[in-house]
C-alpha cells in the first residue's frame, strides 16, 4: 500500500478512483503519565509521553484507513490528511483520511 499526501504519484497513472477512506481513534492519557507531565508543566520542555501517545494514535488511525483501502481493493491512498481534535480535556480524536486509488 502506497501512502502519499500528493494528489498524484510521479510517473504512475491512476487507473481507478475508489473514493474516500478514513480511519480514526480516540485516545485518553493515563494518570501516571499525567503526573509527570504536570511536573514538566512547571519547568518546561517536551512532554515525550504525549508526543508518543499522539504518534501511536496517528499510526492506529492510519492503519484503520489502510485496512479500509485494502478492503476496497486499492493499492495506494493519495492526498492523505490528518486532523486532531480534543473531545474532552483528557481525550483526543485523531482522524486520517484520503482517497483510495488503483495505480498502474
Amino acid at each position: 500500500m502506497l501512502l502519499s499526501n500528493l494528489e498524484m504519484v510521479p510517473g504512475r497513472r491512476v487507473l481507478k478512483h475508489l473514493g474516500l477512506v478514513q480511519g480514526s481513534t480516540v485516545r485518553a492519557k493515563h494518570v501516571g503519565k499525567d503526573l509527570f507531565a504536570g511536573l514538566k508543566n512547571i519547568v518546561g520542555g517536551e512532554l515525550k509521553a504525549y508526543t508518543e501517545l499522539l504518534q501511536e494514535s496517528r499510526e492506529e488511525a492510519t492503519q484503520r484507513m489502510v485496512k479500509q483501502a485494502e478492503a476496497a481493493g486499492a493499492n495506494a491512498i493519495l492526498n492523505i490528511r490528518y486532523a486532531t481534535s480534543s473531545i474532552t480535556s483528557g481525550a483526543a480524536e485523531i482522524f486520517a483520511y484520503g482517497t483510495a486509488v488503483v495505480l498502474e
Binding site: N5, L6, P10, N41, I42, G44, G45, E46
Partner: protein
Amino acid sequence: MQAFFDYFDVILFVTLFVLGYFAGRWNERRHYASIRKRERELSGVLLFSNRFPPYVTGRVETRLVAGSAVISGDYFKNVLAGLYSFFGGRVRSYESLIDRARREAVLRMKAEARKFGSGMIINAKFQTFAVGGRNENSVRGVEILAYGTALGPAPRA
C-alpha cells in the same frame, strides 16, 4: 513558623514562578542549541510546500513522512500568558514555545526522510493542537504535526 503556613500559597507561587523562570529558560536554551545543531546537519533535506514535484519525468519513489512534538510551557510562561490574555497583545513567551515545537517537528520529519535516502520533501502540511484544551487545571502543551511526501533520488536521464 506560623507566618510560613499563613503565607504558604504566596510562598508556593513565588517558588514555582522563580523555578519556572530559571528552569524554563535553561530548558529553552538547551533545546534551541540542539535544534540549531540538527538543523545544520539536516540542511541537505529540502522542504517545500509545493503540491507537485519539480521533476515529473519517470518514476520516483515516494513516502509519507511525518514528525511531531508536544512542548510544554513552564510555570512562568503560563502565568505570563494568563496576564497577556487579560491585557491583550503579543504573547512572546508562547511564540518561542510554538517555534520550538514546529522546528522540532520539521527536524523529526526530515530525519525520517533522510533514513529513506530522500533529499526532498514536498507538499508539507502543518497542524497545531493544544493538548489539554483550555482547561486551567489540566496539563497544557502544544503539539505540532508536520507531514509531507519525501521523494526518492531523481531518476537519471
